[in-house]
Symmetry: C2
Subunit: 545 residues, 2 copies
């Protein structure tokens, strides 16, 4: 406590953390934490913890989101049983990787019971498309009465007055919300680390980052503490943690899924790159189901900024092979050995399956990435800096490293120029599609897998598709293998060398997932989802990697 | 010529005007101009001029755009016959009202001949949806090799390198382009007057303005020198001249019809209010046909800024009456007697037809109009001012009067704030739709009919729907009648009095068309078009007013 009676940032954060920790029932606390978490790979801990029943292990591991909805519909499980299972597993995940921000399991289970009761009393009433499905949420989404701290002390103990429009929709469709998940301070880095809650770990290998900004979701879903979460993405914030943790993530084009009414680290009315909300899940068909269900619910009613683009229910024409544009790297950063192998294997499988691969290159990457960074920092990040500095809390290392706060503020004239450059870049990228008659682009979500903490600097592989406002998704395809020996095959100079040398070999990176990224044409999210489900079936014929 | 050998603006303009005038064949020049144009109403002059054959009068007056397409399809007329008829009538219109900027009749007729020849040689080849239809274009659209002066001396003799994307599309669908039409200097006023070509007159009453900025189209189409033209609208530039001249005009939501690649009076990358391109025509079904045809042609391929919103081919449900929100005025400007009567009669006809009228009020009009003006002048109109002033040409009176050039430049911070205010205004307007469960809004396009030159100051009735980015269209419903006696029934103070007193009675305003405006929900252009065709059928049961 300061002399004036005002709490210090340390007090605010430690009280907030304590409240969160206390929301986990004693019976759900992991016994023998030290032994349980001795290994770097935490994936087996939940099933071995003794907290989950056999049935709860079955529910949380043997179904994806679509499967859960079907199972509840077919009365294999009640909504209560499903919600309880995921609450318990999320509680375990939280203790292992510090992935949660807000916890409201009790309320969630009550809501699930109410759903079950309603169904019993009104057996003929049609079930919502998310009936009984637990959905986890990135911390930025607002829930009435709960905080959205987005990793900043400033927002602690400022409960929301109303739900974000997307939450209103998913609840009305039968979803159960039960927790919110951790993000980086400012939400502008790829490390979900902040002074309020601390750092989220990667359950595949706890020495590596869980990614960000939707890192809590990535970690939670990988531990099966959730089958479906909602994230947001302005530079890779859905795709980076999906890749880092080895789950599926789909960044829609902007203004497809309601984004309004979230806690934001930037000033109201800020323009530049428009962020998207989208699903992260344990299967691609679940991502597709989520987007389809939201779009079919006419989200324009709930959020006046959503585009009136319908879901047409088209199926993919199979009369000809897909023309897949292959981008092997960004001309600046050489993919690390495991990622290079992942992409090469994907190309081989797709070719074997009869698809057509068309090698292409991204135009003007360095220039367009500079443009993207300028558009991210139009106000010189002043608004965000003021929020963080108002409480005296320090900057976390990943924010400092990123240098966002050193970017100069732009004038309105600058913005017109940047906007024009962006329109030209979009038109140029559009030409690339047309010239090559592409159906989809295949590339990597990053030049590397998850890396050690606070080292994820490269976002060209993701952020350019925000600049272009294209839908893009991540498909996990495997893990680092002993075959992925360290080499010196970087090709683009000093900065590339530094990034490339982050990969120190298969021992340090044991368990790190590999993945690929698919990119669709602007606002053709339905088409990309259809293609992604097809491609996933080819790359992961026996289910998720 | 200045001493340095550079042409003065007067020389540039007079040479340009002479070139345009010389593009009209001698045989198409109106004999006895003075006698022919003695009356204020010029509508009868084309048929009486002796220039058009009986068949040419028939073609140009007895068909709308859809009818022309059908007639050519059914081989009632060749494309050549149709194009020749409209070129001749456009030539007459030009001599009467000075409505054209660029004239290329010869080329158009050759293109029509080529279409006829192609059809003869390939009788089984499917015809484009615009096969043989002459379409006139606002001067801002670019055509390879032709100027787009948009009323500024600066742009004279700067022929375009390529067609605007929309022109590429309409040509590929079989349309014949044959002329471009006059606009105000800067395109930012409601009087199509500039130093290059002079002022366009209103053929209904040549003492009244033809409106703007797509004033040339309004005048040309009213004289049947075109059945379909393409305009643009950022504050009313399609709807104002439609109302002023008594034709149909449809301003789509932004980014529905390709807008890219036009000559612009503002800096590349300028943001604020996004303008729309859209049709002006002699029937509502022609406007609908134009939009449907363009959207069905997948304009996203040609212009990467177009939204991927399909035309679904839905028909209007007739199982319940429409809920029509009625906005009688803008709380600032009282409609003049003829406009008040027009709206009242429309309400009566719609009520009689069984539709439901729901009186509503626009929220915060003065504040939102201030916001709109701020968004129009983010750079303090500096870019435009520099263009005009670079040649030494003077400002035309309507630009001076409007005071756009006196607006201060805004900072990027200001813009964020304005953008936020706009998002809030859009959300508030959206609530108005939902709360009242509206299908459409019925209002006026202005508080008055066409007014004397350089007096059209009020754009709240149109510009707010650009702020809200809603589709909006104008339907002509009649003309000023001897019953519309001048009165003093203005209700909102001094500014209202000044506007209201522009109406000096039915004698001065003889022939001035009256009209109503329909507004749809954002990006529900297809729905608005369906409703507008229905409403037009009720208001104008025996065809256009």
């Amino acid at each position: 406590m300061k002399s004036n009676g005002v709490r210090t940032w340390q007090e605010i954060c430690s009280e907030k953390r304590e409240k969160r920790n206390n929301a986990i029932p004693l019976a759900w606390r992991i016994p023998n934490m030290e032994t349980s978490t001795a290994k770097t790979n935490l994936l087996e801990v939940p099933s071995l913890s003794g907290i989950l029943t056999e049935n709860e292990i079955h529910i949380t591991t043997d179904y994806d989101a679509v499967g859960i909805v079907e199972a509840i519909r077919e009365r294999l499980f009640t909504a209560e049983a499903v919600t309880t299972a995921f609450c318990k597993r999320a509680a375990i995940a939280q203790q292992l990787t510090n992935c949660l921000s807000e916890i409201f399991f009790e309320e969630a289970i009550e809501n699930a019971q109410a759903l079950d009761k309603m169904r019993l009393e009104h057996p003929d009433r049609p079930l919502g498309p998310f009936h009984g499905l637990p959905i986890s949420l990135k911390d930025s989404f607002k829930l009435q009465g709960k905080d959205s701290t987005i990793g900043m002390t400033y927002f602690v103990d400022k409960p929301a007055e109303r739900d974000s429009p997307l939450i209103t929709i998913i609840k009305s469709l039968g979803a159960i919300v039960y927790c919110k998940t951790n993000v980086p301070q400012t939400m502008m880095t790829a490390d979900s680390d902040n002074n309020v809650f601390g750092r989220t770990l990667n359950p595949n290998n706890k020495t590596l980052t869980a990614g960000g900004s939707t890192g809590g979701e990535g970690s939670l879903i990988r531990l099966s503490g959730s089958v479906l979460g909602v994230g947001t993405d302005i530079a890779g914030s859905i795709r980076i943690p999906s890749a880092a943790n080895g789950i599926y993530g789909f960044k829609p084009s902007s203004q497809i899924i309601p984004y309004a009414g979230q806690q934001s680290p930037v000033a109201p009315g800020t323009v530049g790159i428009t962020p998207s909300a989208g699903p992260m899940a344990t299967s691609m068909r679940s991502c597709q189901y989520f987007i389809k269900t939201i779009v079919a619910a006419d989200p324009t009613i709930f959020d006046s900024s959503v585009l009136n683009i319908p879901w047409l229910g088209n199926t993919l024409s199979r009369s000809r092979p897909l023309r897949i544009g292959l981008i092997t790297d960004d001309d600046l950063h050489t993919p690390s050995p495991p990622m290079r192998r992942a992409l090469q294997e994907a190309v081989e499988k797709l070719t074997t399956a009869g698809q057509t691969i068309v090698p292409i290159r991204l135009p003007n990457v360095a220039e367009n990435m500079g443009l993207t960074l300028d558009l991210f920092t139009l106000d010189g990040s002043k608004f965000t800096m003021n929020l963080v500095e108002s409480t005296g809390e320090p900057w976390v290392p990943s924010v400092v490293r990123q240098g966002l706060t050193a970017a100069p503020a732009k004038s309105l004239e600058d913005y017109f120029r940047l906007n024009h450059q962006r329109n030209m870049a979009i038109a140029e990228f559009h030409e690339l599609w047309l010239t090559n008659q592409l159906d989809v682009i295949l590339t990597l979500p990053a030049p590397h897998t998850a890396v050690p903490f606070d080292q994820w600097d490269v976002v060209t592989y993701t952020a350019l598709y925000n600049l272009y406002d294209c839908p893009a998704c991540v498909i996990p395809v495997g893990h680092v293998s002993p075959r992925d020996v360290k080499d010196e095959l970087f090709r683009y100079g000093e900065e590339d060398k530094r990034t490339y040398e982050l990969y120190t070999g298969p021992e340090d990176y044991a368990g790190a997932p590999t993945s690929i990224q698919l990119v669709g044409r602007k606002q053709r999210d339905e088409e990309l989802a259809n293609i992604a489900v097809l491609v996933d079936g080819i790359l992961n014929p026996s289910g998720a990697a």
